[in-house]
């Protein structure tokens, strides 16, 4: 379970999170929607401790992420994250990208790591690209590789940060298919996205973010069909 309690965070003068609270249960898929710069991505970075927070706390399975004695490297093994800019490691092949953390972080043998990685890469449809370098792949393929790389660590949670925003439109579908597959398999996911149809389809709950606050959170049916807050209605009107 991920528990976010009254989290506040500023970058200099700019307060990007103004008291965010949200709970995500195991097996749940929660989508986070809202305009650019509303703090959605920052919240994801806070969950795995890539960004410090100023106030409040975040618990992952009871462990306080920003506590001084928390081993973040260990915590992060349970939290996979995929970024908008897919961040493939350009100097490593697809297979090496996926095995590196298995070998160097989890200490698995090359044989075991290869086995796990190949399974995950086949899962996302890249089984025939193992020896290729990322520069030879399309954006969609690189993004799927990033997903496989995160999944290979067998995380309990997956965070997706606008993973289709930097892709050409015709490549969006293949990445969403991969995420849909994961959601159907019961992976716990927080998905920051601009893909409203996708959010509506796969999510158990949808959260609407604006100006550093969650204005509304509810089932897709509630939020998309009868939003309670005028801000949510306005936003939906502008994007749908």
């Amino acid at each position: 379970m991920i528990e976010i309690e009254n989290v506040k965070k500023s970058f200099g003068q700019l307060e990007v999170l103004k008291g965010v609270s949200m709970t995500v249960d195991r097996g749940e898929v929660v989508s986070v929607i809202g305009g650019s710069g509303s703090g959605k991505s920052t919240m994801l970075m806070c969950i795995n401790g890539l960004e410090p927070i100023d106030e409040g706390r975040i618990l992952v399975d009871g462990t306080e992420v920003h506590a001084k004695d928390t081993d973040l490297n260990k915590l992060r093994r349970n939290i996979g994250i995929v970024f908008q800019q897919w961040n493939a490691f350009p100097h490593l092949t697809v297979l090496e990208n996926t095995t590196l953390a298995l070998r160097k972080v989890l200490g698995k043998s090359k044989k075991d790591a290869d086995e796990i990685a190949i399974k995950q890469l086949e899962h996302v449809g890249l089984g025939d690209k193992l020896k290729m370098y990322p520069s030879k792949l399309s954006g969609g393929q690189q993004q799927r590789m990033a997903i496989a790389r995160a999944l290979a660590m067998e995380p309990k949670y997956m965070l997706f940060d606008e993973v289709t925003s930097a892709l050409d439109p015709q490549l969006v579908g293949e990445v969403l298919d991969t995420m849909r597959l994961l959601a159907n398999e019961g992976m716990t996911m927080i998905v920051v996205t601009h893909e409203m149809a996708f959010a509506r389809e796969v999510s158990n709950r949808v959260a609407f973010f604006k100006d550093g606050l969650i204005h509304e959170i509810g089932t897709p049916a509630q939020l998309f069909e009868s939003p309670e807050r005028p801000e949510t209605a306005d936003f939906l009107k502008s994007v749908l």
Binding site: N48, L50, N73, K74, R76, R77, I79, G80, I81, F83, Q85, N87, F89, P90, H91, L92, L100, A101, K104, V105, L106, Y133, P134, S135, A146, R149, A150, M153
Partner: protein
């Protein structure tokens, strides 16, 4: 007509070729070792220059500024003559006479003085090159590595460093060639076993200045060419991406 009392005696030079090649081997040794040290220290200096600690930044800046803005010859000179003298003077203030104790810790023989001096110079130049190379690797790479559970050191070593080395490979090759040519300043601190040193001794014995130095120049040229083409080959093997 006037007398030209210089005739070429190439045979004499060619007979000395084995000695000169032995000298070239020493030259290459110093250059390679000074590069290895220079690369390691250069990476540390590049990181120190970005450190949040003022002392680390100051130390790195001082090193880089001296290495890049004073003659390489002076740097070797200082290590051979200057620093031992200063250190002995400082020791004498505390009534410590290392020489009386039979310890010669401050004195480097010419081979080591040249090696350390050129390594100092390499490190300074390479630190600036590396700093540029590090900027070529986006922060998001570190972020992605950290999110997979790598610690800061592993993220740097496994993800950032290999990409940096690709970005700086060609300037690094240039520095290697420069290091080979710089070894010739060893002659000013009495180094007589490297290519220049051997050549100078042969010259002093025979006065066949032109022949010996032309041959030495040709050997330097060939070594430099081998290094650059070797580097190209390594780059082609290493950077397939």
């Amino acid at each position: 007509m006037f007398d030209i009392n210089y005739t070429f005696h190439w045979n004499q030079a060619f007979r000395a070729l084995p000695d000169m090649l032995a000298g070239a081997w020493i030259t290459l040794q110093i250059a390679v070792l000074s590069m290895v040290i220079g690369i390691i220290v250069g990476v540390v200096l590049a990181l120190a220059k970005q450190s949040r600690f003022v002392a680390a930044r100051g130390f790195a800046t001082t090193w880089i500024e001296i290495a890049r803005n004073t003659p390489a010859l002076f740097q070797v000179y200082m290590i051979y003559f200057g620093i031992p003298a200063v250190l002995q003077l400082v020791a004498s203030w505390f009534d410590i006479d290392f020489r009386a104790m039979g310890i010669n810790i401050f004195y480097l023989d010419s081979y080591w003085a040249v090696l350390v001096g050129i390594a100092f110079n390499n490190a300074g130049y390479l630190a600036e090159t590396f700093r540029g190379g590090l900027r070529a690797v986006p922060d998001t790479q570190t972020r992605a590595a950290r999110s997979l559970g790598f610690g800061p050191f592993d993220a740097f070593r496994l993800i950032v460093l290999p990409q940096m080395f690709r970005a700086v490979f060609h300037p690094m090759t240039n520095q290697m060639v420069w290091a080979i040519l710089m070894t010739s300043v060893g002659i000013f601190v009495g180094l007589n076993i490297d290519l220049t040193g051997v050549t100078q001794e042969l010259n002093a014995r025979t006065f066949r200045t032109f022949e010996f130095f032309a041959l030495a120049a040709a050997i330097y040229y060939v070594i430099a060419k081998i290094v650059t083409s070797g580097a190209r080959l390594i780059a082609w093997r290493l950077f397939r991406y």
